[in-house]
């Protein structure tokens, strides 16, 4: 029997499985208080999923004050929509608005790598569509356990194939991302997905359900039993790898426990999503959408409550009209299903026919399921009986908020005290030459080609830069050449050593990676991957990271436009390294002046090293790879220097003075040189500074540094510009097309073939 509102009123003492659904005792009590009665099964399903950590941000929301406290009016002026919408939107000029967002799909991807990663891509793409934008490109920052661990061989190929299988089928180029290995991710890989989209500024669509009498239309795939409770199971405290996720034990409509459930991880159908994208874009062009919302985590529970509470508040939904692909589904199941490839739109009654015509053209199923009312309640009926009657804001926005205890971990002092100073360093030329090759072949620095070759980078014809470039670049306007560049970064070892500085280093690196392409950094998004918020040490890392990012953005003058938080990333009780992935978006007025990564585009180039190199090895790739060491302090961060560096690079690109540029980060100068010569397929001769230790020069990871190639004819002009602006610059080598080798003076000559074998051989050997 269906649990109706009337039934709930008449049976106030009926036991409810709220704990199994992830609600705490006091949270359940609050639901009862809001409703003045016990919730129905369907209401309980809605509240439990919407008040989950994943949907409600209940542990992180209290720290969002750092964003607003650090956003100046000038920074705000660049945003057309910010935090709180599906994705942030920035004005890039020429009447174009660009929206971008990063999101996590960590837990599903561990349980079922292919589908977890695939639906992660699908979800972020729908977020971008929900802003009224055409998705332009995707990127995927990934983190895996130890490269030689057997489970990494299960997880990595599946995740890579899932990202590719879904994104490639959607016709969205994959223009970059990260692949990082660290044992801390062994039982908890990170799959973050970024999507960027563009629209004319006047076409911005927000998820508002206003206008009494307007119709609510569900369109896209049918609703099934997959992914039920996915959000609360997979992104919750109860998740552990041992439980797997092969079946959901949740059953809000108690009494049918014998029934076979589908996996809690959703299953994606990229073909349906591709058609849905084209259908949405045609609907936007026709101007017949009042409000639109994607169905992601928490499915219809989320879409109806968010649409209603963002509008005037009242909405009536006839849930039995939802097209299903399974028989016998209960209202609670229909509300919490996370079946993929669905969208929900609010449409004026006079436009419904036109809306249905567009959907029919694309063979997209569309069903009117309800309408906007003048009340302030979301009322959901099931075959005429009321099963949900709630104030929608209490579901979507007024969930619990916790001020979790914060404490600097006890181990932190010992970690910082255990610096890298005592680690044995190479000193002879032969040792240094061997180290260049060893580091180039290390899993974290080796070529990502084996991964990125599985992604389509060319589709839609707008990709100007993609991996292995420092940032991905997409042309937005074919007439003017205006485009955007994007980079995501995070060295989690730095964050572990010092969450505040480490997060600013992630910001600095992403900022720098955008600037080396010649684009001007404009806005920031983030995906904050952390352990359990119930651990005060994790909350300390989190609070430090948020504050570091917010204050860093203020110093750089670029706003945080949105973000995502993923907690409970841990294996057993051991948290991952705190991993606040930072994404920076930049704008370039003409993509034809982009700066490539590889040298050799012009005859006679000089290599200049911009910035200062210090003896900084705490958290470095060298300490990790060679010594398995993590301790000390991360490199210093100087955001004023990063800003200056960015200005010099943009000016250099504008004046045509720079023919190639590559930032220095993991692995230091040595790795930057390796990539610069191999990507450019051109040799070079490098001269180190005789007054500084060769090992420090080659492998230190000091921030704020870039290697640029300038034509010999521009060398003086560029060097003068740096000096005038106060940016240290050192002539560090020349490009040598004849040599087919990387020659580091006084250390040795490494033929490009030998270097390439080292750099490109590793991932195919591990996973091929």
């Amino acid at each position: 029997m269906t649990d109706t509102v009337d039934n709930a009123k008449n049976t106030p003492d009926q036991e409810q499985p709220y704990r199994e659904l992830g609600l705490k005792d006091d949270e359940y009590a609050r639901v009862r208080e809001i409703l003045g009665r016990r919730p129905t099964d369907a209401e309980l399903a809605m509240y439990s999923v919407m008040w989950s950590e994943h949907c409600s941000y209940k542990s992180s929301k209290v720290h969002w004050r750092h964003w607003s406290a650090n956003t100046t009016p000038e920074m705000k002026a660049k945003m057309l929509a910010g935090i709180g919408e599906n994705a942030g939107v920035v004005d890039i000029g020429d009447g174009w608005a660009v929206t971008f967002k990063l999101e996590s799909h960590n837990h599903p991807s561990y349980v079922e790598p292919y589908q977890g990663a695939a639906t992660g891509v699908g979800g972020i793409v729908r977020d971008i569509m929900a802003m009224g934008a055409r998705p332009l490109a995707v990127m995927d920052p990934l983190r895996f356990g130890a490269p030689d661990h057997p489970d990494t061989k299960r997880v990595l190929p599946g995740i890579v194939a899932g990202v590719g299988g879904y994104g490639n089928s959607l016709g969205l180029p994959n223009i970059g991302g990260e692949v990082v290995f660290d044992a801390s991710y062994q039982g908890n890989p990170l799959v973050n997905a970024l999507c960027v989209g563009a629209m004319r500024a006047e076409d911005l669509h927000l998820a508002h359900a206003s206008g009494t009498g307007n119709k609510v239309i569900l369109f896209g795939a049918r609703t099934g039993l997959d992914g039920i409770g996915g959000v609360s199971v997979l992104a919750s405290a109860t998740f552990s790898g041992d439980e797997g996720g092969t079946e959901s034990t949740l059953d809000p409509a108690s009494g049918s426990s014998a029934r076979k459930k589908l996996p809690a991880v959703q299953v994606g159908d990229p073909f349906t999503e591709k058609v849905l994208i084209e259908c949405c874009l045609e609907l936007f062009r026709e101007g017949i959408v009042v409000g639109i919302q994607d169905l992601g985590g928490a499915g219809l529970s989320c879409a109806t409550s968010e649409l209603a509470s963002a509008g005037d508040g009242g909405m009536r939904v006839e849930l039995d009209k939802v097209p299903l692909r399974a028989t016998g589904m209960t209202p609670a199941e229909v509300l919490s299903s996370e079946s993929q490839e669905r969208m929900c739109a609010v449409v004026k009654p006079s436009d419904v026919d036109a809306f249905m015509r567009v959907c029919a053209k694309w063979d997209v199923i569309a069903t009117e399921i309800g309408e906007v009312t003048d009340g302030d309640h979301l009322v959901i009926t099931w075959h005429g009986e009321t099963v949900v009657d709630v104030p929608p804001r209490t579901v979507a926005h007024e969930g619990p908020m916790y001020e979790r205890p914060i404490a600097r971990p006890d181990y932190q002092d010992a970690l910082v005290a255990n610096g890298p100073e005592a680690l044995p360093r190479p000193s002879t030329p032969d040792e240094l030459r061997a180290l260049v090759l060893r580091m180039a072949a290390s899993p974290n620095l080796a070529s990502r080609k084996w991964v990125t070759e599985q992604y389509d980078r060319y589709v839609r014809g707008g990709t100007v830069l993609a991996q292995p470039s420092d940032s991905g670049m997409i042309r937005v306007d074919e007439q003017t050449g205006r485009g955007v560049a994007l980079a995501t970064d995070c060295n989690a070892r730095f964050v572990k050593l010092d969450p505040y500085t480490g997060t600013q280093l992630a910001l600095a690196e992403a900022y720098r990676n955008v600037a080396v392409s010649g684009a001007e950094p404009l806005a920031v998004t983030n995906c904050l991957n952390f352990g359990s918020p119930e651990d005060p040490g994790v909350m300390w890392q989190f609070e430090q990271a948020v504050r570091g990012l917010a204050e860093g953005c203020k110093e750089l003058g670029i706003p945080v436009t949105g973000g995502n938080v993923s907690f409970y990333n841990q294996t057993g009780t051991t948290a991952i390294h705190p991993t606040p992935v930072v994404g920076v978006l930049g704008v370039i007025d003409d993509v034809r002046r982009r700066i490539p990564t590889g040298i050799g585009a012009e005859a006679g180039e000089t290599l200049l090293l911009l910035g200062d190199t210090h003896d900084e090895f705490g958290g470095s790739e060298w300490a990790h790879e060679v010594h398995g060491h993590l301790g000390g302090t991360p490199p210093r961060v100087d955001l004023a220097r990063e800003k200056l560096l960015g200005q010099v690079l943009v000016a250099g690109s504008r004046d045509g003075m720079v023919t190639a540029a590559h930032d220095l980060s993991d692995g230091g100068l040595a790795q930057t040189l390796v990539e610069t010569v191999l990507i450019g397929q051109t040799g070079a001769r490098v001269f180190l500074d005789p007054d500084q230790d060769a090992f420090v020069q080659l492998f230190s990871e000091s921030a704020g540094r870039v290697l640029v190639a300038v034509p010999r004819s521009e060398e003086l002009r560029f060097t003068e510009m740096c000096k005038v602006r106060g940016l240290p610059v050192r002539r560090t080598g020349v490009v040598d097309p004849e040599s087919n080798a990387l020659e580091i003076q006084d250390i040795g000559v490494i033929p490009l073939t030998e270097l390439r074998e080292a750099w490109e051989g590793t991932l195919p050997k591990l996973f091929g």
Binding site: L170, V275, R457, V464
Partner: protein
């Protein structure tokens, strides 16, 4: 001169193909899978993608689309037709080209800049290239391994109907390194790599792909 590009549900490279047609100087005409109407075009391109999700088998459902009836009829009467990637698979499924495309030998999707040798420059789609020219254009697919019976392969080789061949390594295990073939008239050509993604070195590895669209222009002008 008007050149059409067909959009099936799941077609991905239609906008790139229309851009390449326009870049060659021809008029680019979008064609819709559900309309049995070729809009008086002088040639047709079937672009890449995953038509109908590649469900069942790549290209297997697209061949039944209303527009394909028109394409097959017109092709048999001499209309130049080019199938790129999924379009090549559709042409094989429709019986306009022999053979089939199987899963890549390494079993996963491959996207890379690929060198090709132009083996036949007498087709309407390749006349702008020198015989034996080597060009670099993107290859990106999951099911790109060309296969056919030995007698068919012998026939293709013997009649000069292998139009493009992979050089610098076989990326997917194709028989005889075959990247593209033609029908007996040379007017229907299918290839796995993507010339439409190589019309400008800014967004592709080269502009070598533009030659295919320019070749067509010569052909019809001189016809």
């Amino acid at each position: 001169m008007r050149v059409g590009a067909v959009t099936f549900p799941g077609t991905l490279d239609d906008s790139d193909t229309l851009r390449a047609i326009a870049a060659s100087g021809a008029e680019a005409v979008p064609l819709w899978h559900g309309d049995a109407d070729l809009k008086q075009v002088d040639a047709v391109v079937l672009p890449g993608g995953f038509s109908y999700g590649d469900y069942l088998r790549a290209g297997a459902i697209a061949r039944f689309a209303p527009v394909m009836g028109e394409v097959v009829d017109a092709a048999r009467k001499g209309l130049p037709v080019l199938g790129i990637c999924n379009g090549f698979q559709v042409l094989c499924e429709a019986g306009l080209l022999p053979g089939a495309l199987l899963r890549n030998s390494e079993l996963h999707f491959v996207c890379r800049d690929q060198w090709l040798k132009v083996e036949n420059n007498t087709t309407p789609w390749t006349s702008r290239y020198d015989a034996g020219a080597e060009i670099i254009i993107p290859l990106k697919n999951q099911d790109g391994r060309f296969t056919a019976s030995q007698s068919t392969v012998d026939e293709l080789e013997g009649e000069g109907r292998v139009v493009f061949r992979y050089v610098g390594g076989n990326p997917n295990g194709s028989v005889n390194h075959i990247a593209g073939i033609s029908d007996a008239t040379g007017r229907i050509v299918g290839l796995m790599p993507h010339p439409e993604h190589a019309i400008d070195a800014l967004t592709g590895p080269s502009d070598d792909g533009l030659g295919m669209f320019l070749s067509l222009l010569d052909q019809v002008v001189s016809a």
